[in-house]
Symmetry: C2
Subunit: 452 residues, 2 copies
């Protein structure tokens, strides 16, 4: 019962099987470990070894390995098989997985596979593939039970017994009218205890949620999260039910969104992994760095404007990064609060604009506390009260700006349908840098006679 | 069927009901909207109005509102009810939700409620509450079907018909031995089609996963995510099954982790919300800013060391933030990659240390490209090739350091069981600031005669 997985051990066992094991050895190895783990080892295997190993297995086991693999391994695996063999392998998968794999094939090969398939299967797969890769349709389960609302409980039970073994979802039955339009959901338990003559229409749960097939997966994911839904029907323009998204379907969507946000805030493109190829990483990171360099030059240009001031009071050079750095930190605090609230759909520019007052006050208060510390330290170090006063004032102003920008930027980007996690951080830092330098050095220039 | 929710409209409707509506009006309003949305309006209501409204409702509807509410509203709601009434309300909830609510009550009141309850209920709730708030036990469902492996399919079907209506999970049956120790999972569909004389033991799916009740929810969440599990049994030290975590139970866990990470990286404590009270926000943010101020002074002290150099070449003051800023950006890129991989459990210090070479090379390459740009611009601006050369070299060195620190810090923190998302960013920036200033200004001091 206890499950233990050791990459190196599994690798050795796989090697042993390939270097002279029997078909039975291969199969029992597959059954002992989870496909996710086996795939991790297969990823690092040479193509000939991989092919040899896969050819020892039956279509059902290959299907399990294939549907759990990463895209690259999936592509590689599919190359080993003929059209007919692929169809056989796909027959052991749910439609959503088969559709994803088909989506990876070249146009011609995909057509071939669809043409050789049973028409009922290829119709569903073609329908799924007709929707965008990020659409709700691409994560829905098509193996669900749907019954007409006019059926009685007794009729329904007979149908359920007949269809249930081939469906993925059985605890909920999706109820439609005669035109296949979704009417609601009935719990299997309610059918089990209801009198046989009752029509299903009377048992419908008032779950008023559904998504259109072409809506974004994030939309579906947000609904399921917010309303704690187990099942979310997916419908076409005519409200006919095409499939069902289950709560476990959105786990991957959520995880992906999460990663994208974290990477975006860090200035990395969303498809970079920790073990991505060197040149992939360059491609992912260098463009961001170039943009950052440009903004760094803007900030540097502001400092240049005050070179004569700095040359007279060099202490300013040592103190100015404190103002810009703290502004950036305070702005990031506001930004991260707003970004997480945006992800949860809790905050909008229209409803929550007044909260900007709170952020400005926070900037004022925190800026005053931090500015006071900084001012006292500078005073003690350089024995000049004006220097202390200048950093105190600059800190307050810059932190208030940081609050305003950190609050507004993500909301404005979101409204403009630009990903706020990607775009906000860089603009925010540019802003707090430029303003920080300008305010601090500008005040210093005004009070220059008192500083020298 | 189409569900529309408008905060202001719902607020008006609720007000109308409170200012003279009937009990029936109140109930039909509750039935029309989702509890999550109604709770959002109730949150902003005065206590007397809230109490008046709740008292119009039956225990079942109150239970629905209460279990979907935020903690603060839950506490407030519970204050309106007597011990007996609370028990009545809890009886309409699953045990996990009732346990969470009980956990919010004071010790004495909790004891009272448990004492007045049916013993079978209070036993389960006491068991759940005996585990830590973040433990697997606190998100598990205790309403599941567990059957002994020695039962035949026919016996099992009879039991299932009897128990099913009161359980939350019916599509999977959890199989135990005579000592209630978990043996595996059987799919209800497999029972439906198997011959009646077969023992359940023969139908067990080899799903070798379980978690101990006191393990962290993150552990359970990672297993479910990684292996795409629908159900994860929760066991005690003797492997007796106590409950089951379903994939929808971990959605909240994942969302919370995500938010914590995003907030941590931004330097905000995890319980701050966009609409938190002003002083709550101060408490959440000011301590971080103070720590940041301290590190900013460290960096500033490095600049101070070179004041005489800067006074001779003021251009250095304008150029130095470029080196530190770009180092911070590059380090954040590495950091965000490592953090997301850590969350997914893909990377460890032991297995992946060699990848540090890639990060160093990335720092070298990106540093060279960015340093070249920056060097050329500085050369064109100040007509001094040495200044260009210095920023070129400093950029390369600082970005290599950024790669090393951005890679090692989160892995070391993780190993030391310190949250890497909270601690890494601040140390990283401190490091790239101090090193950036030191390298750039240090090189400038060495080559000072060529710069003046």
């Amino acid at each position: 019962m206890e499950y233990e997985f050791d990459y190196n051990l599994l690798k050795e066992q796989l090697d042993t099987v390939i270097r002279g094991g029997t078909v039975e050895d291969a199969k029992s190895l597959i059954d002992e470990f989870h496909a996710v783990d086996i795939d991790r080892v297969l990823e690092d295997m040479d193509a000939p070894d991989l092919q040899y190993f896969l050819f020892m297995l039956d279509a059902e086991r290959v299907a399990e390995l294939m549907e759990n693999a990463e895209e690259e391994l999936q592509r590689q695996m599919m190359r080993f098989y003929s059209t007919k063999e692929l169809i056989d392998i796909f027959s052991f998968m749910v439609n959503a997985d088969a559709a994803d794999l088909l989506g990876l094939l070249g146009t011609q090969r995909r057509k071939d596979v669809l043409n050789y398939m049973k028409k009922s299967d290829s119709d569903i797969l073609t329908m799924i593939l007709s929707y965008d890769e990020d659409s709700a349709a691409r994560i829905m389960t098509t193996e669900f039970l749907s019954l007409k609302q006019s059926l009685t409980v007794k009729e329904a039970l007979l149908k359920i017994k007949e269809i249930a073994p081939t469906t993925e979802i059985i605890e909920s039955i999706f109820i439609t009218d005669d035109l296949h339009r979704i009417q609601g959901i009935v719990d299997l338990r309610d059918i089990l205890v209801a009198p046989g003559f009752k029509p299903l229409a009377d048992l419908i749960d008032d779950s008023p949620f559904y998504v259109y097939a072409d809506e974004d997966q994030e939309e579906a994911s947000n609904l399921i999260y917010k309303y704690d839904l187990k099942y979310l029907p997916v419908v076409n323009k005519n409200l006919a039910i095409l499939g069902v998204i289950t709560s476990d379907d959105i786990i991957d969507v959520m995880e992906e969104e999460h990663n994208e946000d974290m990477l975006a805030v860090g200035g990395v493109s969303k498809d970079e992994e920790y073990d991505s190829h060197f040149f992939h990483s360059i491609k992912s990171r260098l463009p961001w760095l170039v943009i950052n360099l440009f903004t760094a030059f803007l900030a540097s240009a502001v400092v240049s404007m005050f070179e004569s001031t700095i040359s007279q009071v060099v202490a300013l050079a040592a103190a100015m990064p404190i103002v810009t750095g703290m502004g950036g930190n305070a702005g990031n605090q506001t930004l991260s609060i707003v970004l997480t609230s945006l992800v949860r759909g809790e905050i909008t520019l229209e409803d929550d604009l007044p909260l900007i007052v709170k952020e400005i006050c926070l900037g004022l208060f925190n800026g005053a506390v931090i500015g006071l510390f900084a001012g006292v330290v500078l005073y003690l170090k350089y024995h000049n009260a004006y220097l202390g006063l200048i950093i105190f004032a600059a800190m307050i102003l810059n932190m208030m700006i940081a609050g305003i920008v950190g609050f507004l930027l993500p909301l404005l980007f979101d409204k403009a349908k630009i990903d706020p996690a990607i775009s906000s951080p860089i603009f925010l830092t540019t802003c707090t840098d430029i303003c920080g330098f300008f305010i601090f050095l500008g005040l210093a220039s005004l009070l220059l006679p008192k500083l020298v």
